[in-house]
Amino acid sequence: MIFNTLIYYFLFLLPAAGLFRVVKSDWRPLVCIVAGSGFFLYFSITQFGGYFGAACLLMFVWESLFSRLYKKGSIFCLIGVAQAVIFLFIFKYWNFFTGLAFHFSDENPLHWSSIFLPLGISFFTFEFIHYAVDRYKGTTEAGRLRDYLAFILFFPTMVAGPIKRYQDFLPNLLHPSTDFTLDWNRGITRILSGMIKKFAVADVLTSLTNHLNHADIAVAPRWVLIIWIVAYGIHIYFDFSGYSDIAIGSARLFGITVKENFNWPYLQTNIADFWACWHMTLYRWLIDYIFIPLGGSRVSPIMIYRNVMITMAFSGLWHGAGLNFVVWGLWHGALLCGHRLWRTWRDPLPAETSLGGRLAGWALTFTLVTLGWAFFCMDIQTALFFFQRLLIG
């Protein structure tokens, strides 16, 4: 919801973006802070956790105050990372991990039945972690408290990204684009096309993707299963890229440029290129804050594969607190490892030069990515049943 409510546009986006453009530069962060806080409070109270959800605004306040202690090489940066991870663990993974500890039995004494997910927690904690790590490494400046608060409370990207970097955001905040008509022309166009992607494609396809459950899979002919899973792949792309379009277009109304999240991922001819074009800000984040700290690709080949698998398993777990998401992540990890192996064996790739090779690469990539969605949208048992029906009948 949120981006498909009139309240978002008329109560938050248009007034805030308009005000941001007319106030003096010193006041701009304040506009972001006030509008972002109002946005968080309103949508938390109405949709995400009620008043308890709204109280999570204190997490932003605490984070911004604590961030003032960050210095290059400081222990406080590491504590900052730890507390961001703890926030995420408590709200998103508490029941999952305590459930694992009690083997998912019905009698998990630590089960938190009234748990709620604070608005945008998966995304803003990644921005908290990024800032703490980059301050630790000295690769970003501290900025003023209000600038940092404006960064974490910038509402167009607060809920579901694109995941920002402080180094990119700060110059935009301090010196936003002044070409009002260009920004508003592009911003409005972007928002409208994002909504078309969501309403006219993604939502219509739910009539097919709703069938991805055990009962319907059991009665459907096999050829229909292919239609459903392809529809899911298209659905999730149009849903999230539509969302990203609205977020990027909204930021553009402020004169702020936000990094792109998608670059025609389904047209890519290998899995590495797919990931370089799918949810790009998350992928960059995973590389910078998981893969490289693990050693990246400057270690032995075996360790590289291990790092890839860990990174992608983490990516899966981030997408949802369920084993099926972990399997989805591992599936992609395995594909990336397979691609890396292939590249080691056949480099340069003849596939990259011939049309037939590119077509084969595209078909293989699209098929494997599409099959992988089975683990994303169904629990493991249902997904395995899906494959059983698809392959055996």
Partner: protein, 57 residues
């Protein structure tokens, strides 16, 4: 293919410069009609009230 991608990105608001040979510049009144058409299409298709998938993450 690249030209079509560029065109779609331009019409979708991602690119600021039109692809070579495309007559509609950013200064055109046609953008008003384009926005109107998109808005009408949104009016027709909205109402399913389904959540964005990534918003629950």
């Amino acid at each position: 293919m690249d030209w079509i991608k560029h065109l779609l990105e331009y019409l979708g608001g991602e690119k600021d410069i039109p692809p070579a040979g495309f007559p509609l510049t950013l200064n055109s009144y046609w953008w008003g009609i384009w926005w109107g058409l998109l808005a009408c299409a949104i009016l027709i298709f909205c109402g399913q009230s389904s959540k964005f998938i990534y918003i629950d993450f």
